[in-house]
């Protein structure tokens, strides 16, 4: 099988080749297609010269890259039908918000197909989408929704934070025989990092510890993980920072072990506040590590409303490393966290 000859390497190398998150994705897609000719890519503007913010430009197998009409729902069904007929599609969306037109296919079809037939069939389907704020695009072009998708049984949800993770997780997602949603934050695209040229995979369901510390466990994924790391490093905070890498399956073991050591948990979740990923981590950790908790777990999330357009509001809607540092500091000291650091909706 083409997928068995990968290196697996769970820690980011250093001192190697530095490329952007976007280039890492592009390379992962290109190598996936080179490695297995059943892999193809499909999506609105997948084949145009801008190539989904550059993540699909100049691929080596253009005959396996298909543009589509504005028909996201049927296109998801087409990808599923192709996956059930022996291929391994990567379906791509310029924005996760557009995927909402395809929820019947994603929730009723893609997520359920294996359960409905007692896993007699494989559904090797990757759905990529860019998430998060753009440039004053407003409430319909800025959602993240990773926790929302994870609520639905049958969907794996992957949220790479670094270029290394982007490539390794993308290759794992394509190698997986079940549906995987792959959510890439728009604001990570230009970040750089060390990425091996060789083909490699990172396991789905294994967290990455981005920083070691003793006084607080912070769980954060995607852009939030990068902001949290910046905050911790800039202020020299004694914090354990865990990026779960995949929202589902969720590596609770790593998180629980950390909380058992630090006694405190904060989840930074760039997403809507009700339910979702933040609530799941807090609830699950409390279930499993209640005796270790010195203070109640804290969630830092978006306000409970759609993203506004004006830059002034858009910047306030998201956290910044500085505001995160202030919140972590307060939690470490056992001081109350200012309301605007938690998100107005919490």
């Amino acid at each position: 099988m083409p997928w068995s000859r990968f290196d697996s390497n769970y820690t980011a190398p250093t001192g190697g080749r530095r490329i952007t998150y976007c280039e890492a994705l592009r390379e992962g897609i290109d190598q996936a297609m080179g490695n297995d000719q059943r892999v193809f890519a499909i999506g609105l503007d997948a084949d145009d010269k801008f190539g989904v913010f550059g993540s699909m430009s100049n691929l080596s197998f253009p005959e396996r890259v298909l543009g589509t009409p504005i028909s996201e729902n049927a296109m998801t069904g087409v990808a599923l039908g192709a996956a059930l007929s022996g291929l391994r599609p990567i379906h791509v969306h310029l924005r996760v918000d557009f995927m909402l037109t395809a929820m019947d296919q994603i929730v009723n079809y893609v997520a359920k197909w294996q359960d409905m037939f007692d896993h007699q069939v494989k559904v090797p389907l990757v759905i990529r989408a860019i998430v998060g704020r753009g440039w004053g695009c407003g409430a319909q072009h800025s959602q993240t929704l990773h926790g929302w998708f994870a609520h639905i049984p049958g969907l794996k949800v992957v949220t790479p934070a670094t270029p290394y993770d982007a490539k390794g997780l993308l290759l794992s997602a394509v190698a997986d025989d079940s549906p995987v949603l792959f959510l890439e934050h728009r604001w990570l695209y230009k970040n750089t990092g060390d990425v091996p040229e060789a083909i490699y995979t990172l396991p789905l369901g294994k967290a990455n510890v981005l920083h070691r510390g003793e006084r607080l466990t912070v769980v954060a994924s995607s852009l939030a993980a990068i902001h949290a790391l910046t905050a911790i490093e800039a202020h020299g905070l004694d914090v354990d920072l865990i990026d779960p890498r995949t929202i589902k399956p969720l590596d609770l073991d790593t998180i629980v072990a950390s909380v058992q050591r630090t006694g405190k948990l904060c989840v930074v979740d760039y997403d809507f506040p009700f339910g979702g990923f933040g609530a799941e981590v807090c609830a699950a950790v409390t279930e499993r590590a209640f005796a270790s908790l010195q203070t109640p777990p804290t969630r830092i999330q978006f306000p409970d409303r759609g993203m506004p357009s004006s830059g002034v509001l858009e910047r306030a809607y998201y956290q910044t490393p500085d505001r995160l540092a202030a919140a972590f500091g307060a939690l470490i000291e056992g001081a109350p966290v200012a309301r605007d650091l938690i998100g107005a909706g919490a």
Partner: protein, 316 residues
């Protein structure tokens, strides 16, 4: 201008056997249904057998058929073994979906049935995906999207036809038009004429869906065009639903205008077989009896099969 009604004997017998299999199995299900041995909804297709059987005669096991909620007929026509259907309806582990799917979610990978769906419309896109897979892989199988008249209401119908046509995919769209969405007549759910709309996207053919020879002939033409690289074809089959939308009872919608003598696809075919001396009356009766035995065996199989256990709910 009536065409001469002829058929090869092997085709004719196959068509008859499969139609009888579907009809008699459906009648048996209807008889058993009130006893609650089948804890799942059933959407029977009595009266519509000609569509399933006429089309499937031309399909191979490699061709991929995607169904909606009215599954039994086309699934059996495609090759799903009856015992696996019955066991599924009985909620037993030996069912085609291991008792996880029920009546609306049938699968048979060996016979090119990768699953069916109970959300109206969506599976149309899956057949298109099969066509795309065939084209990209340079394979020669065909994707088949199977749906009712009211599935044409759904946006995914339009999106699927458009994409199949843009990409000239090897896809057969089969619209089993029984004129109703549950109790809502077509005039209330579609402001357009179905074949005329379909013709805006692709080659469209119509065949009388109560006449298996007509369906068989048109489907043959359609599939020949598709297999020779001519792009997708839409096959519209007006037909009649004798039963209620769901369940075991005959339908009593006023004006349904069904005449079980005149409109019966099985009687129509039997008449041709007799008239053209391809079969005698005894042979026809033999077909009926042998199907009845298959049904007895399938039910016995289902009844003696084990139920799944709650432990199977463990997440894989």
């Amino acid at each position: 201008m009536e065409r001469p009604r002829t058929i090869r004997r092997d085709d004719g017998l196959w068509l008859l056997q499969r139609m009888r299999l579907i009809r008699q199995a459906s009648e048996r299900i209807a008889r058993l249904y009130p006893t609650d041995v089948m804890e799942t909804p059933v959407h029977l297709c009595i009266g519509q057998e000609a569509v399933a059987v006429g089309v499937c005669r031309h399909l191979t096991d490699a061709d991929k058929l995607f169904l909606g909620h009215r599954t039994h007929g086309p699934a059996l026509a495609k090759g799903l073994p009856l015992p696996k259907l019955m066991a599924e309806l009985y909620g037993r582990s030996t069912g085609c979906s291991h008792a996880f799917g029920g009546s609306m979610h049938l699968i048979d990978l060996e016979h090119g049935l990768p699953g069916s769906s109970a959300i109206v419309g969506g599976s149309i896109a899956l057949g298109v995906g099969a066509g795309l897979a065939s084209k990209l892989a340079g394979a020669d199988f065909v994707g088949v999207s199977w749906f009712g008249d009211a599935a044409t209401n759904a946006g995914v119908f339009h999106e699927s036809l458009n994409f199949a046509a843009l990409q000239r995919l090897p896809v057969l769209f089969v619209c089993e038009d029984n004129g109703y969405s549950n109790v809502m007549p077509k005039s209330a759910h579609a402001a357009f004429d179905i074949p005329s709309l379909a013709d805006e996207y692709m080659t469209t053919m119509t065949a009388d869906g109560t006449d298996v020879l007509a369906v068989h002939e048109q489907a043959g033409e359609a599939l020949a065009q598709i297999r020779s690289g001519g792009g997708p074809v839409f096959l519209h089959c007006p037909t009649k639903r004798w039963m209620k939308h769901q369940g075991h009872e005959r339908c009593d919608i006023v004006g349904n205008g069904i005449d079980e003598q005149r409109d019966c696809p099985i009687r129509k075919l039997e008449r041709v077989l007799l008239d053209t001396h391809l079969c005698g009356a005894g042979e026809l009766e033999q077909v009926r009896l042998s199907v009845e035995q298959q049904i007895d065996a399938a039910i016995a199989f289902a009844e003696s099969s084990p139920f799944p256990t709650p432990a199977q709910l463990e997440v894989v």
